[in-house]
């Protein structure tokens, strides 16, 4: 039976801190591989062009060097780039993937060599069937090469740019008068709930009037249930404004990382 797939690799350090990496699946990895295949083909074409246009060596020697160059390019492309670019090739850079050690340690040269040599098996019988299947069945989405070399391929997360300023700029926020309650709010509201409010504010103009009222009423009620602010602060504020103030407390005030 297939091992339970996880989309994150969790690592606990000896200091008791836990951090996680988002694992890359077979589809995104295939996209990166396709880009790399195109680059390898281009490098081979370039090598042939240079060899035959230089006229410096005889046909026999040129063909021999060409054969060896093709072999070295195919084998060495990923090894060289993954070593020089700390686990990335051009394809992986474009798709925002990176090879890392499965325990979060530094990626070693022998790991890079081994995972790339194992492509000889992963690529069988064609189009990385063995590697793709292993990747699907493995809980850390590892192909055979990754298993042997103790590596995983992770997704480099996009940094979310929150432009809270355009929603909240210049508005007075009465909730900020109560720092102990806003601190409690920050603890009780999950990131998902906070982002829900933010997204609703971002897209409020796309909604029809009744849906807009209904959505913000529901959100405001949820936030009010989490932390109760004194009546004099919330009195007279519409549900939408209340949600805006809550989002300001949760997400506003600092530039995004």
């Amino acid at each position: 039976m297939a091992a339970h797939r996880q989309n994150a690799l969790r690592i606990q350090t000896p200091e008791g801190v836990e951090f996680s990496y988002l694992l890359a699946g077979p589809i995104t990895r295939s996209l990166a591989w396709m880009v790399d295949v195109l680059i390898i083909a281009a490098l081979m074409a370039l090598a042939s062009f240079v060899l035959y246009s230089a006229f410096l060596i005889g046909d026999d020697m040129a063909a021999a060097i060409q054969g060896l160059l093709f072999f070295v390019i195919q084998l060495g492309y990923s090894m060289t780039l993954e070593w020089l670019w700390h686990g990335q090739t051009v394809g992986k850079k474009m798709v925002k993937l990176r090879v890392i050690d499965a325990q979060g340690l530094q990626l070693q040269f022998h790991q890079i060599v081994l995972r790339n040599l194992m492509r000889f098996v992963d690529a069988l019988p064609l189009l990385y069937f063995v590697g793709g299947l292993t990747c699907l069945l493995n809980r850390h989405a590892q192909r055979l090469g990754d298993l042997a070399a103790n590596t995983v391929v992770i997704r480099i997360p996009e940094v979310l740019q929150r432009d809270t300023a355009c929603i909240l700029a210049g508005k007075f926020n009465s909730l900020k008068q109560f720092p102990h309650l806003t601190a409690r709010l920050q603890q009780r509201i999950t990131p998902h709930e906070a982002m829900l409010g933010f997204r609703a504010l971002q897209r409020r103009d796309e909604m029809d009037a009744s849906s807009r009222v209904e959505l913000f009423e529901e959100l405001a009620e949820h936030y009010r249930n989490a932390v109760e602010f004194p009546e004099e602060v919330t009195e007279g504020i519409s549900d939408e404004n209340y949600v805006r103030n809550v989002v300001d407390v949760l997400l506003g005030g600092r530039s995004a990382w």
């Binding site: 063909a63 530094q106 070693q108 098996v121 600092r254």
Partner: protein
């Protein structure tokens, strides 16, 4: 609990930025690490770890947490294992010490592969001996379709008049190198199937060898066989066996009989050895490819068989000495 989150982040940000800068500098190989750098890195890493632990209680701080997690992860890999810089790589030391020492460290796997080859050879020998029709199925590269004596006669006659490899020697050599290195990598990589894949490849190689050897000896062409095979085969065949050895080492680590450490730890332990063995095998096969294209394919009267046999025997003895004796001092200092 942090009451004033904004104040907390404001006060800690300079330390996070300093850690980020230090990690970027460390990532570039130009920077030499001093003890002061290492101490500072350790301090900043521990501080960032502690901050991350505090921030975990603030679930609304998703981006800040993600940023800090990323920082801690990068610092963790830098603090716990220093990257082995390749500027310190000494090719001659690696070839004359690391490679033979690695071979000897896994001698049991090599003995096993020799045994598998021997069984394959016997199988090939007896199959061709008892069923000559099987030759056409078992032996590749046209060996199964023609008589050994006929081939010897043709090769010797052709040698008198023309060089049939003229204008193609370098290409032939390059093709041999690529093909043999690919077979070796496959023999190692198939070890991932609990070693079974490797055993099948090596066993099949043994069958081919046994069949060909019987065919030539049976036709009374033993001298030709030795003169043809020894110059390149004395390096090429052991190289394939070493690749098989690497495959069994991989298979053994995956099975892990009697080993209490985890699969991950076992694989981590043998990974450098696999790379060393395959790199050594590749070098051996480059040499074998040159010899096969430029030397082995010439027969009497162009080259006397005694010379070819002597050359091949010398190569084999040198290889045995190299694998058995080179780097002994390194072995002893390690134990």
């Amino acid at each position: 609990m942090i009451i004033n989150l904004e104040q907390f982040i404001k006060s800690e940000t300079p330390f996070w930025e300093e850690l980020d800068e230090l990690l970027i500098k460390f990532a570039s190989s130009e920077r030499k690490r001093t003890l002061e750098d290492a101490k500072r890195l350790h301090y900043l890493y521990e501080r960032a770890s502690s901050d991350l632990n505090k921030l975990i209680t603030f679930s609304a701080e998703r981006e800040t947490r993600a940023h800090l997690e990323n920082l801690v992860a990068r610092a963790y890999s830098e603090v716990h294992v220093g990257r082995v810089r390749q500027v310190g790589f000494r090719p001659l030391h690696w070839f004359f010490n690391t490679f033979p020492c690695t071979f000897r460290r896994h001698i049991k796997a090599f003995n096993m592969i020799v045994l598998v080859t021997a069984v394959g050879c016997l199988f090939g020998w007896f199959t061709v001996a008892f069923d000559p029709d099987a030759k056409a199925i078992l032996l590749p590269f046209g060996h199964g379709e023609r008589d050994a004596s006929e081939r010897v006669r043709l090769e010797e006659q052709m040698g008198k008049h023309e060089d049939r490899l003229a204008g193609h020697k370098a290409q032939f050599s390059s093709h041999l190198m690529q093909n043999n290195i690919s077979v070796s990598i496959r023999a190692m990589a198939f070890g991932a199937a609990w070693g079974i894949g490797t055993i099948l490849i090596i066993f099949y190689n043994g069958i081919i060898m046994g069949g060909i050897v019987f065919d030539y000896i049976n036709s009374g062409e033993t001298e030709f066989l030795l003169a043809w095979l020894l110059p390149h085969g004395s390096i090429e065949i052991p190289a394939i066996l070493l690749a098989g050895q690497a495959g069994l080492v991989l298979g053994g680590a995956i099975i892990g009989w009697g080993d209490r450490v985890s699969l991950r730890a076992r694989l981590r332990r043998i990974a450098p050895d696999l790379v060393t063995l395959i790199a050594g095998v590749s070098l051996m096969l480059v040499w074998a490819g040159i010899i096969e294209a430029f030397f082995s394919q010439y027969h009497e009267p162009v080259l006397p068989y005694s010379l070819k046999i002597a050359f091949g025997t010398l190569e084999l003895l040198a290889l045995i000495y190299f694998l058995a004796r080179c780097g002994r001092a390194a072995d002893e200092s390690a134990t």
